[in-house]
Amino acid sequence: MELKEEGARTGDGPAAEVPPLRRIVVESETVPIRVGDYAGPPDPEYGKEPWQLAAGLDGEPTWIEERMRTEGLSIAYGDKRAVKDVSIEVNSGEVLALIGPSGCGKTTLLRSLNRLVELTPAAKRTGRIILDDQDVDSFDVTHLRSRVGMLFQQPNPFPMSIFDNVAYGLRERGSKKPRRRQLEPIVVDALERAGLWDEVSSNLNHPALALSGGQQQRLCIARSLAVSPEVLLLDEPCSALDPISTGIIEETIVELRSEVAIVIVTHNLQQAARIADRVAFMYLGDMVESGPAGQVFGAPREARTQEYVGGGFG
């Protein structure tokens, strides 16, 4: 690993108010690190401290800022406790991977972040989930879900045109029905960010279910992005896809990381190692260990993590 120092930050804030900030860029393919090297008072422009910095696959440094966190979160289905006292933060600018054997509660944890778990009648939650310093229970659930998007295991476009799929979340939001011309720039932008625009630009009116599985999944990403979420939850988004589509989706995720906080549940440790900046290992509902991906995979602190990432069980 090679560390190199760069000069003062030339950010968007006024130069006089923002103290100089040294930037440490990590040139490494797999080991992202977070360096809190901001000395001095918190920056009023951003209101968060400390400034944190990470570098991922593409080598581009990204700003890291907390978006969501759970505090002592437990979820039980009837008598069965699926998630036990989990506290974890979700930051924008990085990909957080939840790993662990089947039934360890990672999907339940993910689905609790947008309160989708509440659709299961027997599910009961204790503990707090906080989005941008506000308890998620204080939000209207539909508002919360438009800020915390989700992608599912199976690609599930709606049986309508490609355009209508992406525009779906935007319609019926206000009292006035938006026209297609008003929606078009947002739809195009979302498709571009999901890396699908080049393939579908000429047939936006074609049925979405006629696309290939990988394209459908990227369409679902575009559909989520169109409502400009702050957090994107991915529940094993590649498990139904072939290796090539998986690769494309992974690239898309890494590119999106700078704009949206991403949480991904995956069974695939290689995938977690490829795209995650931070990894949390869960086992039987417990959050055993979480930390930078390099540390969890390279030098896990807990024996159970060691066993799992080393292939001891699973």
Binding site: L119, F152, Q154, P159, G169, L209, R223
Partner: protein, 324 residues
């Protein structure tokens, strides 16, 4: 390395000169073979029966059917050259079908959506389900008699003809159409529920995850996805309505000609006939005793119903969303 090569499956070798039976039949007992043969025979004889019905009706129907029968009204005459055609019954069949389906589809889709998407309290849902089963199992003549009872009540007078003394006639296109809706309703509910149940749960969740509530998920995602199921149910229901006779005989009045009442909805409040009642009345069992007219009308009716069944097949194949 030893490689064992097997050239044939173990078991008795087929006799030379005879074609080997497919392997999966070799172990069958006599009873199984007789059963299989009986199943084959039953299937083939059903095809024969169906073919005979269609061919016989086509032979008789085409023999007596003239184009002007489709464009002229029935007339009261024992002389068959003057008793006209069956334009009114044809229009009556179409009108009754439209009324029945126009009532059955919204009500049926509503019930199906409530049962699949809400269904709470569970006891009420079970009650609704058994209600649907009761309606589906009730013979149409019973529905007809019940309908007559309902529509002869004084406050139902607006739906049919009220005589000078204040007695409500209780027979009209609306009265018959409402009971026809009950015949189509279980089919619409069944096929809509099936379509809604076949939509994976994660598709609903994807809509919720975009910040949509349940109502707009139903309206924008589930109902469009269930469109082909709804259409299938509606078409099956139309087939049943076209073919039902008891309700027409009891509830549509006995007039062969369409006889509207006065007023803006006079046609719907009036009486008439359908192809089924026309066939019944012209068959040797009826008053006219004009079997040739009955055959011609029966052939047209059969064609309409077969066409509807064909449409059901088409809808089932197309437009059905497929998720992985």
């Amino acid at each position: 390395m030893n490689i064992e090569v097997r050239t044939a499956a173990p078991g008795p070798r087929p006799k030379p000169g005879r074609r080997a039976r497919p392997e999966h039949h070799t172990g069958w007992s006599i009873g199984d073979r007789v059963g299989l043969a009986a199943a084959w025979a039953a299937g083939i004889s059903l095809c024969v029966v169906a073919a005979v019905i269609v061919l016989f009706m086509a032979w008789k129907g085409l023999q007596f059917l003239h184009l002007d029968m489709l464009t002229s009204s029935p007339e009261a005459s024992m002389d068959q050259s003057k008793s006209g055609g069956f334009l009114d019954p044809l229009v009556g069949t179409l009108l009754l079908t439209v009324i029945g389906i126009a009532i059955a589809v919204p009500v049926g889709v509503g019930i199906a959506v409530w049962l699949t998407e809400y269904g709470k309290p569970a006891g009420l849902a079970r009650l609704v389900e058994s209600g649907v089963e009761v309606v589906a199992g009730t013979p149409s003549i019973v529905l007809a008699i019940f309908g007559l009872l309902v529509f002869q009540q004084g406050f139902m007078g607006i739906f049919s003809f009220t005589a000078a003394g204040g007695a409500v006639f209780g027979r009209s296109f609306i009265a018959a159409g409402s009971m026809m809706a009950l015949i189509a309703l279980p089919l619409v509910i069944g096929s809509t529920r099936e379509a809604l149940n076949s939509i994976p749960r994660h598709v609903r969740e994807a809509s919720y995850a975009l910040g949509k509530d349940r109502a707009s998920t139903i309206r924008r995602v589930l109902l469009p996805s269930a469109r082909s199921g709804i259409a299938t149910g509606a078409t099956l229901g139309m087939g049943r309505i076209c073919g039902d006779t008891a309700i027409v005989v009891v509830l549509l009045g006995a007039s062969m000609q369409t006889t509207p009442e006065s007023g803006p909805l006079g046609l719907l409040r009036g009486t008439g006939s359908t192809l089924t009642s026309y066939v019944y009345n012209n068959s040797p069992a009826g008053e006219g005793n004009a079997p040739d007219k009955a055959y011609a009308a029966a052939f047209v009716l059969l064609m309409i119903v077969l066409l509807l069944n064909f449409v059901v097949g088409l809808i089932g194949k197309r437009n059905k969303p497929q998720w992985n």
